[in-house]
Amino acid sequence: MAYIKKVFAKLVFATPILFSPLAFAEKSDYNMPVGVTDVSESIFELHMVIFWICVVIGVIVFSIMFWSLWKYRKSKGAVAADFDDNFWLEIGWTVAATLVLVWMAVPSTQVMVEAYDDAEGEINILITGHQWKWHYEYLEDEVGFFSNLSTSQEQIDGDVPKGEFYLREVDEPLVIPTNTRVRFLITGNDVIHSWWVPDFAVKQDAIPGFINTAWTNVPEPGIFRGACTELCGIKHAFMPVVVRAVEREEFDAFIAEKVALAEEERLLTSKVWTKEELMARGESFYSVNCAACHQANGQGIPPVFPALAGSQIALNDSSKHIEILMEGVQGSAMAAFGDSYSEVDIASVITYTRQAWSNGADGDGVIVTPQDIVAYKNRIDL
């Protein structure tokens, strides 16, 4: 009796494991998404086919095993047979296994060839993985922007309730047109990242110095959320991917707006800024791009991320301050912001960090304007 209970207990536990997937068969929150493109649907179907083949094989194999365990219990008087070999059985199940695998390999190859299409893209987007944000550049229109996580630190720390799109929202999603073959060119800026959108079934590693390609063609508008899928440092979990697919007219308007904004930035550079304007802009730039390392209170995490509050450079040395922002610091995590951000942004954040906390009271009070940054870029002496 005890042994029956034993074996049946095993069956009881094994069965839900084997059959629970049935409950989550097709579209479900616990399965791979079907996605919105032809390729993602093919991949989903392939996944389900392989899965069901595995389930069937598993059911057959485990039934034989559990049946043997039940039927041939010594406690019920089973006497062991003495065969230990059967040449043709071995050949048989080896051949059977091979045939099943060949049978799986055929659709797998077909879907692979479908996904690996190298045809020309109607629009081409250069995606660069940075620590810890994505940069998107529309190559035909020569306009680009960074895409940062927009979930607040308070939500992450648990000080305020988490929003619906916790860790899956960004300030500037990638916008693409529907019904267009979009080609992605993916590279990395520092370490290896990986760009993944499950609904497109697109995942490619972003490798510094190399370009990888991927493509998609989204039939209907929507918002699609993905993630960075290669460990890239402390904020690996905090650089999501968000793509907005819109109708062609809306896309064209978006691009036109971005081009206009870029032009506006160029104009902004030459206008006269007040200290308050610079600080306001600088503060928001700082919270998005600097606070991760230097902290919102400017204390940093020494020795790796120096404190800015009370730092000699921020208090007394504005030229060095500009140099560091523009060129980064060799051999450290401080990147060169000069090549990625506008003169207005650089000037604002420098002005902000020179005035914030008690730096404004304790330091030389020098503010840096966008014209100062332009002058720095154009100097040929020194």
């Binding site: 190298d118 020309e120 893209g121 250069l126 035909e140 060119l185 110095g209 060169a336 002496d381 020194l382």
Partner: protein, 166 residues
């Protein structure tokens, strides 16, 4: 086995060169329009992308982001380099062709990526890339993207340069 592990490095290089895997094309091509012979020509799109690695502060961009080209003909694309800092620096451009298997059909007869570039403080130069797309390029490849990543190698080649250590 240890030797095999070490040999993987040059073996990997040779293998990639022969097959053009990973978009690596090394060294200038001695091809010319004549030597290729005009067989069947077709049109395709060639795109240029520039990217500065990490802390490389130079301005680096291509004059044109793309060109429609015909296989077998030679073309030239101009790139601008501007060292905006106050010190001499050395840069190295690493090319990458996408898709990877198109790399062996992308023949560069002249390229700034063959050598390192030394720019004085504030210096700005324009350099060309001259290339021919092999007519044997498979027709499944509709466009070729040439990505250039600019690295700062000042420290690697001038370790005594004090200004390099900020």
């Amino acid at each position: 086995m240890f030797a095999f592990g070490w040999l993987l490095v040059p073996m990997y290089d040779v293998f990639c060169e022969i097959t053009g895997l990973n978009g690596k094309v090394t060294g200038p091509s001695s091809l010319s329009e004549e030597s290729l012979g005009i067989t069947e020509q077709r049109e395709l799109l060639v795109q240029f992308m520039t990217h500065n690695n990490e802390s490389m502060p130079w301005f680096f961009d291509s004059e044109k982001s793309q060109m429609r080209v015909v296989t077998g003909n030679q073309y030239e694309a101009i790139f601008v380099f501007h060292n905006t800092t106050g010190r001499e620096m050395v840069g190295q451009v690493i090319p990458s062709v996408s898709p990877g298997r198109g790399a062996e059909y992308f023949h560069k007869t002249e390229c700034f990526c063959f050598e390192r570039q030394v720019l004085a403080a504030g210096e700005r130069i324009e350099l060309p890339v001259r290339f021919i797309i092999d007519p044997a390029l498979p027709k499944e490849i509709g466009s070729l993207s040439l990505g250039y990543t600019l690295f700062d190698i000042t420290d690697r080649v001038q370790p005594n340069n004090d200004l390099a250590n900020l």
